[in-house]
Point group: C2
Chain length 395, copies 2
Amino acid sequence: MPISDRVKKSMENGSWIRRMFEEGTLLKEKYGAENVFDLTLGNPVMEPPPEFHRELKKLVDNPVPGMHRYMENAGYAETRAAVAEQLSKETGIKFTEKDIVMTSGAAGALNIVLKTLMNRGDEVIVFAPYFAEFINYIENHDGVAKVLPTDDQFIPKLDILEKSLTTKTAAVLINSPNNPTGAVYDADFLAKLGELLKDKSRELGRNIILINDEAYASLVYDGMVHDQVYSHYRNTITVTSHSKDLALPGERIGYVAVNPRLEEHSDIVNGIIHCNRISGYVNAGALMQRVVTRLQAVTVSIPEYQKKRDLLYNNLTEMGYSVVKPKGAFYLFPRSPIEDDVEFVNELHRRKVLVVPGQGFGSPGYFRLSYCTDDRTIEGSLEIFRKVALKYKLS
Amino acid sequence: MPISDRVKKSMENGSWIRRMFEEGTLLKEKYGAENVFDLTLGNPVMEPPPEFHRELKKLVDNPVPGMHRYMENAGYAETRAAVAEQLSKETGIKFTEKDIVMTSGAAGALNIVLKTLMNRGDEVIVFAPYFAEFINYIENHDGVAKVLPTDDQFIPKLDILEKSLTTKTAAVLINSPNNPTGAVYDADFLAKLGELLKDKSRELGRNIILINDEAYASLVYDGMVHDQVYSHYRNTITVTSHSKDLALPGERIGYVAVNPRLEEHSDIVNGIIHCNRISGYVNAGALMQRVVTRLQAVTVSIPEYQKKRDLLYNNLTEMGYSVVKPKGAFYLFPRSPIEDDVEFVNELHRRKVLVVPGQGFGSPGYFRLSYCTDDRTIEGSLEIFRKVALKYKLS
């Protein structure tokens, strides 16, 4: 094959999520979309909130000269200030526009942060189950992903983390609220994690950066509030996007937020801005930056997602599936009734329910369902989950 | 510094273009924008054409459900088909949507193409003067930029190229119409280049890919038509954007076009799509993809740019500056009247004219002027260029 060995390898490993999504497309063509129940992709079926449409229309009806030109690689100062203001409100920590870099989604954000921090061969810790793209993003910049386990509630095991940090560790990458498990790390856990990283950084003589991918920060349920990481550890960087809270995944708009108290703050922020440029992102889309400037406090309907979670969780649990109740995001990560999660996923696939096997997230023996879809799809899938539960004598 | 050695090095080398742009910002704050004549950045002052505003408004006034969701990583089939149709018209070669990948500008396009093609340590040939980001983009993916010279008309020297191709050569990267020189490679040159690459590929046992960055393809003057590369060499990939033809640099919308006759076409296209995903671009912005779908045949006013070129070129030549007349793009690349181009640029800078030294493009002894700016700026700069010409006794 005429393509690079690394890309070839990455393609062979593939993305289970995309693979299932594409198989689903074929299945829908064959049997009709109404007969296929696709729970594979985190691609919200919900429309952006009305405020988004109003704001977009206002900007388009009143164009400002130069509004589609290049701006600073960090993004518009006004947009960054609006993000900083909202973050300040949410965290009680004073952010300014100097702490924010607007990016092409959380994926763009994470790539430029990793590129900034890692020397070739440096390690980044990730916890299984993990969002599979994390591995690609780390390897894009010649880093090594070191995968550590979580406990039965999908919370990282800190004793194992402690033993795994070395002078090669550039960063610890967490993702709370979590894809694929829906776990949300609480303040108590974050405090312990922060303490551990502080101690180990001192011991190792290297400031280990804690990165939290907060793409699902707005999507937490049962009246909970997502706990912020900044006050628990100084050397913290978060990446996020408006793909989930404003249902804009196709528009690629997000940002990096750097803890104002981060050591060597300006070197790192300047590095991130530089990497936004040299990675070829250059800047986040101009129009979308303007749109989100006044939408920082807006989200899609969270109760609607919670209803979907409850519908799926309650039914699957009642059928005998073993599921840790997710506190956030829009995924469930139940145990596969049989050891071989791929075989189980194929069984569902034959019955026209599409989910992603746990090994796509580094955790065989599980499967992921995405519930950012319509109720018809969820309800249709439940009938089939019930039949499969009976077949495997789950209750 | 806590940032990666490579990023640190890249920051130290810096971007002359951005550095001058930022110095210009300071100068404008100090003396008032009306007293500073900034010819540094390729950031068109022209507004997008009226068709762009109409199309954007139409889409925003009539939103389609799901129009901000993820789509295929390659981009919307409809958008790719529209690009393919226009390319077919312009080149006489039959392109289909399978040959097109929508990207985050030409920068995003080039990065995913290079990532797809290069193994670690592979070489990519570039010709000085070059767009400085090319070096960053090649190094992003662990490639080595091999810089070769051009002749006195800024056309690559093929005899030197021939001797420089090895089994390590993954690609030859050209940029016609050219930034920073405005040179446009004609069909005769492209035919010779294609022949050379065909022969050397056979001899070396490696299909060397020819990449043309065509970001300025619409901006050619004197009634010329930009010569397409595809018919001259089979293994050709082009990258481009709508930053220049539609004046949308801030929106990051462009594409990769793969020669339909490329060997191992589907492997390479699939690799490029995969790299669009794993690089963190995921997909080109959804709304901008829809906007450009119906604007493939639209451009900003080319005669207006030609007028600006003529104004600058005629005046500078008459003053005694040595300039190769540009046939395209929106730059002039005159010889510096003194050997030290940085010293000359500083001299202009003290007189509040901002340009970029040639060494920012790998060609010391020259300087670049960008004329995608308003006539007031160009005219204001001319007065100062005249004074400096007298000082250096150019005529």
